[in-house]
Symmetry: C2
Subunit: 273 residues, 2 copies
């Protein structure tokens, strides 16, 4: 693993790392910020469509909040890079920067787009071994909110807590999710349901603690793409504890995330300490 | 004046505005953030090379701090837009997004690149009339730090206080400044010295209060382009009160700005209230 850049911020460093990934068979990048004191836990942040490993670090202003804690943060990139698979770079909502954090099974993507395994096996183990933390939580935004939810529901023992900002909460029923799942998983809908938060809840998967979601009420993607209301219904029916904060007048942007990031970090902090 | 976008953030709005400018004879854009309470004062932020009216708003995380005050912030764009003057778009450090906040006098730029007048006459009056604030301060980063310093030194009665992050503090003696001043002001060095902070101090211009500067010690531009040490010498010789905080290990980026933005806002707050 190689540190490729280190930028001082709030008396510590935002570090950028590159390592060879077994899951994606490419180099993968992530950023990290650890407060300048003994680090005891970690939160993994999964970013949304079009993002890379830097967006959260430069826009969410988590560092000031984290600098007062014993918790570090890790922000992986949103897809493998440096490949030229057929169609991979043709659209902003599929392929590069749009992995949807699934393990692809289609011929074209199955060798590299194993992002569920990358996050939940490879990066997870790397965080534990390289950064010597034992307690790990996960959160994310939009596509990354979806990634955080499915990670926690499929691997409930790995994560202390999970939260999301404006997650794509029912991808099998929205255009973004359907496009991605068809491209990465093919036509077998049974496979799709293994990566859909609502389907996982309906299949009886339960996360041991309350799931926290913040959602802007004027988010332009809420009713067509995110479908947070569907996730609410599934959680209610299946007795999954869930807290959704609908935030009046907020949109889908980092202006929204930066406003409520402190609440989410505190939520995870309480469960990590 | 037209509001072109409004995004909720910390219980108020980041607004984006467009208006016809008499100074530049183009439309000009700026962003604003006013806390959700009675606003009594304003700080104008001038951005650096390559920036537009959004960079500060999305990266500096000033909104959380401002939301607890009675002070609004205004971030103008860094040059006129929508023109196609000869050479205007050829380099990142001259022309579009690189006005250097001077009133150009060269044939090619004198009709539109009147950014000193735009900031200190037009935008300044607009802030007073449209937003009904009386007390105004100014700060900025890099090229914008230079802009803030010359604005306050040339118009000391207009501003309550001035501060800068990593300003281009002696442009007549650095490559960025020399390129810009030759392009906007021609070969008459007397004209250059009217827009150089060190020259202004040496000419006897004095700002009535302490000038605050924060400067990262590992800023890659410090010794060739920024020359903050020259400004320190001039201020010392001419009894201009100046506080330079050299910040060990910090660079030129928004990671540096976001770390110390609260100090600067508090500095201005104290002088605005």
């Amino acid at each position: 693993m190689k540190k490729i850049k280190s930028i001082k911020c709030f008396d510590s460093d935002v570090d950028f790392w590159e390592h060879d990934s077994k899951s994606t068979k490419t180099k993968m990048r992530f950023s990290s910020f650890a407060p300048n004191k003994e680090v005891k836990s970690c939160i993994i942040w999964l970013s949304g469509l079009t993002c890379n490993e830097e967006n959260f670090m430069i826009k969410a202003n988590s560092q000031k909040i984290l600098s007062k804690t014993n918790t570090m943060i890790i922000c992986p990139d949103t897809s493998p890079r440096g490949l030229n698979l057929a169609g991979e770079h043709d659209s902003w909502d599929f392929g590069s920067a749009a992995s949807f954090y699934v393990d692809a099974s289609t011929e074209n993507y199955k060798n590299n787009y194993l992002m569920f395994s990358y996050i939940n096996d490879e990066l997870y183990q790397l965080v534990k071994s390289f950064f010597s933390v034992t307690k790990i939580s996960i959160f994310g935004h939009s596509m990354g909110g979806h990634g955080a939810l499915i990670s926690a529901l499929k691997r409930p023992d790995q994560y202390q807590s999970v939260s999301a900002f404006a997650p794509i909460a029912n991808p099998v029923n929205c255009p973004w999710g359907q496009k991605a799942f068809r491209g990465y998983l093919g036509d077998d809908k049974n496979l799709w349901h293994q990566y859909d938060s609502c389907s996982l809840i309906n299949q009886g998967k339960i996360f041991k603690d309350t799931i926290l979601i913040d959602q802007g009420t004027t988010d332009e993607f809420l009713h067509e793409q995110l479908l947070v209301e569907n996730f609410e219904s599934c959680c209610k029916q299946n007795h999954q504890s869930l807290k959704v904060n609908y935030r009046e007048g907020y949109d889908h942007s980092y202006y929204f995330i930066s406003t409520f990031i402190e609440d989410h970090i505190k939520f995870h902090q309480e469960r990590l300490s």
